[in-house]
């Protein structure tokens, strides 16, 4: 059976069955009316034959549902285009260091931080700390990278001041707390600041976090965005290639 990529539907065990599972709570007291409400809601989401397989009283007039149904919608897979970080192929630790030695000719200066009110350093630490994460060393370990992890709750202004002082090549900003869009304002602000200081073209701006993706990063004015599962070599591969590209356009940062 050939999949029709112009009309793709969810798959359970039969092509085109549209099988979807979902769970949610409603602010209504538990009972048959609640079950009916969940079914109606699922139908409005485009699910046919919605079945409430589990319903539970959460107290305070709230009810939890686990619902299955068959989805009536389709998507055209052939028309989908997703911007991706152009890292020219991910290199490993050795290859990245070699690339810097041979093609950049000086150490790369990278500054990382959780900016704004964000206190969760787990992301930036995974990319930058000596030990790294999941078997990949962090940037601090790279002999050809001077990495400075400023830690948590760093004001954008402070990060930029540090960038100027150290003549940084790249800024890595981690944003874990994204409640109420707080990360958007904060990231936008950093871009505005670098522009105001006339530094935007001298710095490679990268952001990362569980709810960051490359497309969003580009929209906010960053050069790249890294989502969950990204490791130091992913980020470093992008940085070194981007720096090389910029150096070939502009000789001011090339080695003497």
């Amino acid at each position: 059976m050939a999949v029709d990529f112009q009309r793709v539907k969810p798959y359970g065990d039969t092509l085109g069955d549209g099988a979807v599972q979902l769970s949610f709570s409603l602010p209504v007291p538990c009972g048959e009316e609640a079950r009916q409400a969940a079914r109606q809601l699922a139908a409005q989401m485009g699910l046919e034959e919605p079945q409430v397989y589990h319903m539970d009283d959460l107290g305070e007039g709230y009810t939890f549902f686990i619902v299955y149904g068959t989805c009536t919608h389709t998507v055209d897979f052939t028309s989908i285009r997703v911007p991706k970080v152009d890292d020219g192929g991910r290199m490993n630790y050795e290859a990245i260091n070699r690339f810097i030695r041979e093609r950049i000719g000086r150490k790369l200066v990278v500054i990382g931080a959780c900016t704004g009110t964000d206190a969760h350093t787990v992301g930036i630490d995974a990319i930058m700390n000596m030990k790294g994460y999941d078997g990949e060393y962090g940037l601090e370990r790279y002999p050809e990278i001077e990495a400075y992890n400023l830690g948590s709750q760093v004001p954008n202004e402070e990060m930029l001041a540090e960038a100027i002082e150290r003549d940084a090549d790249a800024l890595l900003v981690s944003q874990v707390v994204t409640q109420k869009g707080v990360h958007i304002d904060n990231l936008t602000r950093l871009v505005e600041l670098t522009e105001a200081e006339g530094l935007r073209n001298r710095l490679i701006l990268v952001c990362g976090g569980p709810r960051i993706n490359h497309e969003m990063a580009l929209e906010l004015g960053f050069d790249a965005g890294f989502g969950p599962g990204s490791l130091a070599p992913d980020v470093a591969s992008f940085l070194v290639r981007e720096l090389e590209r910029r150096m070939s356009n502009d000789t001011s940062k090339a080695p003497d």
Binding site: S23, F24, S25, D56, L58, G59, E60, Y62, F64, T117, D118, A119, T121, V122, D125, A126, N129, M130, K131, Y133, G151, S152, Q153, V177, Q179, K180, V182, P210, P228
Partner: protein, 535 residues
């Protein structure tokens, strides 16, 4: 009963002794100092509350007023009590007049020292009576309503809006939660005042304010009556206002407080002197209020590898235990922390988790250990995450942990939704009930994998503690021996709020608290008759 793991008691004693010396050395050094937060706490316990016309809390107004005049090192209480006696008004009225600019504390003639001491003692006793009454009320409610069985089911609410939090907290209690913790707004740990009043806006959590404490307490009391179980309330006694939060929690009958001696230094870059002085006074208050503290050792594993860094967790538990004892906080109130954070892909990882949990249990037999769920290796695959949480629950019931911070399948995705909590509670209840007495049936193989692992972790922890003892805690922190984070004694946030005490420093709350928890108060007699500093 025979212990499940045969451990070398000599090694445990060595670790404890080293930790005791580490803590005592720090205490000796820092007893000579106070902080702006400690002084604000004293004022709060003397009855000062509220904000000025610009929204600045009155304890800050008074402490800043004294700081500007360079007179805070005598202790805020000496000036405020003096003013209250001289003007024949309450400390609250003193603070209001300072805020209005109609009173300058250092220009008031000084009353007789003996009467100042008497009045200070009276006001301190009055402040502490409210806390003692809360403690009695808690005990009475638990007697009347009962409470959940250990491990207590601990859940978090974090909507940013206290009124939404109350709904979530009450719902969680109905689902079976025993402890409801209100996560603080991101960034609160680094502001040097406590916001005032009920708040409905926060990021990643809700501001800790005294009014928010009161509202949530009221909500949980209501639902506790209905479900027939006392529901404990938890908040975060950390950051630059650590002792103030302790006082506010004690006044509003909170039951549990996150309170770690080293957390702020390592993970929030708060100055080490500031944090260590603040934690000592915080724990004095928490101890007296009957509040269980939860320490933050789980944080050591958020970036470090849980297998490699396991001994740092144990070493920190030893240090936290000793700081708590020095502050008069009894073992039954020490919720020493650790966490289930080993990479789930590791073969026999469960055995290592079991070894660590049982090790903590045996070394701190009276402490209601606080066990933290998997977070680092949670992925967004909620189905696998639910199983990881189940494994975590199994270790807990097997090893008799005291407080189970329930893992959420949506960890690493968002703050818990109402049904995430329900599913987490169901998971824990199922496993705790189904395997309730499994621990009693288990004896680990002598010299087997679990026992060998426990011994290895203990040996490494003792080695580390003895090294820290040799060089001192401050140097150890400078060298990055804890959590791979390097901190200097004069770096970090909040150092400007640390002051040398005058020789006639006066803090009636500290003296009275120490008396009541059975610690030797400092030589208060030595300042008798000396009077306020000459001006």
């Amino acid at each position: 009963m025979r212990e499940k793991l045969r451990l070398d008691q000599g090694q445990i004693d060595r670790g404890r002794k080293a930790a005791a010396r580490i803590a005592a050395d720090v205490n000796r050094e820092l007893e000579k100092k106070t902080t702006v937060a400690v002084e604000r706490t004293v004022l709060r316990l003397l009855g000062i509350d509220g904000v000025d016309t610009e929204g600045v809390p009155l304890p800050n107004v008074v402490v800043d007023h004294l700081l500007e005049q360079g007179r805070l090192s005598a202790g805020a209480a000496s000036w405020v009590v003096n003013a209250a006696l001289h003007e024949n008004i309450t400390p609250q009225q003193v603070a209001e007049r300072v805020a209005a600019g109609s009173l300058s504390l250092t220009e008031i003639p000084q009353v007789e020292w003996a009467s100042l001491l008497r009045e200070g003692e009276r006001l301190a006793a009055q402040g502490l009576e409210r806390i003692a009454a809360n403690r009695r009320e808690r005990e009475e409610q638990i007697r009347r309503l009962g409470e959940g069985r250990k491990p207590y089911l601990y859940v978090i609410v974090a909507t940013g809006d206290i009124y939404e939090d109350i709904i979530q907290g009450k719902s969680a209690a109905r689902q079976g939660a025993d402890i409801v913790a209100v996560i603080r707004s991101t960034g609160q740990s680094l502001i040097d005042y406590v916001p005032y009043g009920a708040t409905r806006e926060g990021f990643g959590g809700t501001y800790a304010t005294q009014e928010n404490f009161r509202l949530m307490r009221q909500g949980l009391d209501e639902v506790g009556e209905e479900v027939g179980r006392y529901i404990r309330l938890c908040n975060y006694c950390s950051g630059l206002c650590m002792p103030e939060i302790a006082a506010m929690g004690a006044m509003e009958r909170l039951d549990v407080m996150l309170n770690d001696a080293l957390y702020g230094i390592l993970f929030r870059d708060i100055n080490m002197q500031r944090t260590l002085i603040d934690q000592a006074f915080s724990r004095l208050i928490n101890g007296y209020a009957g509040i269980m503290i939860n320490t933050g050792e789980d944080n050591y594993l958020t970036t470090a590898d849980a297998v490699e860094a396991a001994h740092t967790v144990l070493a920190s538990q030893f240090i936290n235990e000793q700081f708590a004892l020095l502050a008069g906080l009894p073992p039954e109130q020490m919720g020493l922390g650790h966490a289930f954070e080993i990479n789930p892909e590791l073969e026999d990882g469960f055995l290592l988790e079991l070894a660590q949990a049982q090790l903590s249990r045996q070394i701190f037999p009276e402490a209601p250990l606080k066990y933290m769920p998997p977070t680092k290796h949670m992925t967004g695959n909620i189905f696998k995450g639910h199983v990881q949480d189940a494994m975590f629950n199994l270790v807990s019931i097997l090893t008799g942990q005291g407080v189970q911070l329930l893992g959420m399948m949506t960890e690493a995705m968002h703050t818990p939704h109402i049904h995430d909590r329900k599913l987490a509670i169901e998971n824990a209840q199922y496993i705790f009930n189904n395997a309730r007495h499994l621990g009693e049936e288990i004896q680990f193989v002598s010299g087997g994998r679990v026992e060998a692992r426990a011994r290895e972790v203990l040996d490494r922890a003792v080695g580390m503690l003895e090294e820290v003892e040799r060089i001192g805690l401050f140097t150890a922190l400078e060298r990055g021996m804890l959590a791979d984070v390097k901190r200097s004694p004069t770096g970090g946030k909040g150092l400007s709020g640390v002051l040398e005490k005058d020789e006639n420093y006066y803090n009636p709350l500290e003296a009275e608290l120490k008396r009541r928890v059975g610690l030797d108060p400092r030589e208060e007699g030595s300042v008798h008759g000396r009077g306020l500093p000459t001006r």
